[in-house]
Symmetry: C2
Subunit: 115 residues, 2 copies
DNA sequence: CTGTATCCTAGCTGATACTG
DNA sequence: CAGTATCAGCTAGGATACAG
């Protein structure tokens, strides 16, 4: 038996992979997440300087990550207004994916080296 | 304790993630791999038609995948010459990563739907 | 038949200046 | 300070013709 997958399952799987890729790929999303996880909540400007991301990109990334519930955005009642971003609990659910990627990436580098 | 990671570990992890991302992201690599895994070895032209990828892109993708030991390339002694591509055993090692991505992608879609 | 060369387009990314 | 507008460069991906 070569394959028992239906077209529908195939589409679902493909879609699921694309959804995940959308969240983990790209130049900045995981970097931002790592910073927020390691260093805790941070304001927009801090994050921009800390990661070296220009405001335009950072804004776009944070919006997408907020839509995907990976970061929370809190407007603080200060003057002038400041905004704090933080990694959500839900972001932890990505850990399995990221760990799998780290593990494979490390052993892969070994595997390739031996040629 | 917030973080006990060294700069070096951080770099390694980041590098490993990028290596994995390089292999699984992009529009075609996983599609090609899925086809070769499900339908077995296939010639260049077949693959091109089957997946609907133009030769230029397919060639580039296959070269990269071959460098990463994910596919094998066998020149057949036919006339005119034909070339068979197949998924390697090593490609199976990606399964954990892909499964993690499928799993997260599916549950994520549910998580987002509820908002 | 396998692959490459050429040309083209759309989208991602970045620097910078600016608005509220 | 947070975020957007504008402009510019780069890269991924694609159509097509062609070479070996």
């Amino acid at each position: 038996m070569k394959s028992n997958h239906t077209q529908k399952n195939c589409s679902n799987v493909h879609l699921a992979i694309q959804d995940t890729l959308y969240v983990v790929s790209g130049k900045w999303k995981l970097v931002i997440l790592a910073i927020l996880v390691n260093d805790g909540k941070m304001r927009f400007g801090e994050l921009s300087r800390h990661a070296g991301i220009s405001p335009r990109i950072l804004s776009k990334e944070l919006q997408e990550m907020e839509m995907n519930k990976l970061v929370s955005r809190t407007v603080m009642d200060t003057k002038p207004v400041t905004v704090e971003y933080a990694a959500t609990e839900y972001a932890d659910s990505l850990k399995e994916v990221i760990d799998a990627m780290i593990k494979w990436g490390q052993s892969h580098r070994e595997a390739i080296k031996e040629s």
